[in-house]
Symmetry: C2
Subunit: 172 residues, 2 copies
Amino acid sequence: MAGEQGRDDERVTTVGLLFESSAGLRRVLEPQLLTDSGLSNHSFDVLVRLVRSPGFRLRMSELASQTTLTPSGLTRSVDRLEESGMVAREACPEDRRGAFAVLTDKGQAVMAEAMPLHVAHIDELLDGVLTDEEEETLASMLRRIRDHIRGLGHSTACEESEAGVPMVSGLS
Amino acid sequence: MAGEQGRDDERVTTVGLLFESSAGLRRVLEPQLLTDSGLSNHSFDVLVRLVRSPGFRLRMSELASQTTLTPSGLTRSVDRLEESGMVAREACPEDRRGAFAVLTDKGQAVMAEAMPLHVAHIDELLDGVLTDEEEETLASMLRRIRDHIRGLGHSTACEESEAGVPMVSGLS
DNA sequence: AGAATCTAGTTGCACACGCAACATCCTTGG
DNA sequence: CCAAGGATGTTGCGTGTGCAACTAGATTCT
């Protein structure tokens, strides 16, 4: 079992490439994001969801399932964002266990500055690598993969993403 | 700066999807890999490179640049693999600073068992999501992205991957 | 040859993450 | 109406990670 790799490894290679490109992009983007706006990839991810939600607010659980974080990871992440004053926790009236994460004014200001920089950086980074059409294709395929995976976790395999608001996903 | 997302965010969305699908796949794959073979994604990644290298050996630096790990991360990872007896370190004759990581017999045996299981799991996981043609397209695009990113890090932007051995990348 | 510079690899340190256990609250069923 | 079960969010604990500083060996320049 040394160096033989049947063409059925192709799929494995594709998955490997997915990991590699993801990690590569993260390693380039994260430092820039940090020096530009003092945000980690995860923080930015959380903030993007909030920025794009009505009332700049989202339930913790919602946030957890949308980001790349586990519930516990999200708790800490929001803790930090709260300490920095970008996010505030707010009790949920109807469900006293629940909590909202709400973007503060400062959080909105930070994002208003961070987004364009980040977008520009990504643009600069990816320019000329893929045609517009290819990018669209790539996005469509990745979306399908993501939704398929998600369907597995929630077991009931439904309520995927509402194609209308295509899970924006600013980053990470 | 609330919910407006010009079509120039498309690229950001694509990057976001890349992160999401990568993280999603990892979260599904890793536990399985762990219970099946007792390996983490990173360990598996390291072992795959070794399995596919002549003499089952690779320089630490080579390994570091090929995997998703930093040099320091790789050191610890190889430390652990060495403790488990799957990998051994070997001094480099021509360069006394350098070190090889070499797959032991045990390491080869573990991989011989782990690979098919892992491949099967991925197959099962991704079956029906993309057509064969799409998979090929996806791999090609991801490869381009990865190579483009890599070219940035090494500054000199050369010596990309030798298309012949297309950076196999079993996983992670 | 000898000093300055560079590279390979390792380690101290701090930090972020996930898992599993937990407290709290909602929801069903008798 | 109360008990059993499910959901939401948080925390203790162990572990893995990256950065920066470091050791040791190569390389280059004068």
